[in-house]
């Protein structure tokens, strides 16, 4: 009985910390933070965490939720599964194609320059002179940070939460094949 209560307690806490939005671009928690909150100290703590996450994941699947890992900031978090995502409009740039286009150019430039994107290069990729209003809007929404001194842009981990990069690459490949 005590073990069941302990497990339920852990699951509730895990659910809470994985669904907690701490800032515009920080949701969930890292492995270290989870283990610290659950006070797990034994030598097999990683296996223990994996078991916990698998356990919670099994509870969440029927609810249309899944646990995911954001490799940009090593955070575990909870996501709606693809069926639910299709039902509700998850596109944060609905009706704002200009922002989506600028974001893709930032992403491309960041990939090319290992993290930072010079604004001049984004302008070139976007094939548009006036992109500052887009960049400022994207910054306001938490997707990037503009460094006014170096005139460069850096993506925040938010893109790791919001965007399925694998699907985007598949779409790109298909488009290029056309």
């Amino acid at each position: 009985m005590c073990e069941v209560i302990k497990e339920m307690n852990e699951m509730s806490i895990l659910m809470h910390i994985l669904s907690k939005k701490r800032s515009t671009h920080q949701i969930g928690a890292t492995e270290e933070e989870i283990l610290d909150i659950l006070n797990v100290k034994n030598k097999n703590k990683s296996i223990y965490l994996q078991n916990l996450i698998t356990g919670l994941s099994n509870y969440l699947v029927p609810l249309g939720l899944q646990i995911k890992f954001n490799s940009l900031n090593s955070h575990w978090y909870i996501n709606s599964d693809s069926e639910i995502t299709e039902l509700i409009s998850a596109n944060p740039f609905e009706g704002r194609p200009s922002l989506a286009a600028t974001l893709l150019c930032v992403l491309t430039s960041c990939l090319k320059n290992s993290g930072s994107a010079p604004i001049q290069e984004i302008r070139k990729l976007r094939n548009k002179k006036e992109i500052m209003s887009d960049l400022k809007e994207l910054e306001k929404e938490g997707y990037l940070i503009i460094n006014k001194t170096t005139y460069q842009v850096q993506l925040t981990p938010l893109i790791g939460y919001k965007l399925d990069l694998h699907k985007l690459l598949v779409n790109l490949s298909l488009k290029l094949k056309e």
Binding site: H16, N79, E86, A90, Y161
Partner: protein
Amino acid sequence: MEGIDFSEEINKKIGVIKDGVLSGKINLLNLELNPIFSDIKDSLSIFNIKNYSQSYVNACELLNRKFEELRNLLRSLDIEKKFMDFLKEKPSKEEIYDIFNGCWNCNFELEPLSINFLEYSVNRFCKENTIDLRIEHLNKERSDYQFLLEIPRLKFTEKINEFFDEIRNKLPCYFEEVFENEEHQIRIYEKFVYLLHLLQLGKIKYQKETNTLYV
């Protein structure tokens, strides 16, 4: 369980998938194979294992093929180049917008999830879950003592007697009255244990009908 054998259905299902893959209708990378392995696992028994072994082989073939496709995809991924190639074509903002179709995630953020209870739970857990259970082999040690553990028999008896002296003047009284001035749960429990011992020793008696303790 004895009569259950879904191997034929599972093999048929795998066959349909294989045909679909060969005809290009099914992309293995978009197909979940977990349900097939779950079907095998959930209905496997000693009675059908002979037929199921072939189903398992077929399912593993499918999984291998999926791995192969994934390997090919990874090999073909030259991420940065793909993005550049696409942007070199100078696509319109609408075309770029369309590329993102179906790529957005919907994160689950539930701030008001019984927040007070969970915050309390987190703090409490942190303080109280400090026991790290380990099973360690003990080394045998030579000892001149016969008993390693000291049994404080006399001390416990003294405590019982002390409790008896404390309540003696109250008796006879109702059962609850013995604990009435005590608020601390652990202390109440301790006194209750002493009372049980006193009842067993016959120093105190209890009348169920009137809920009374007496000497």
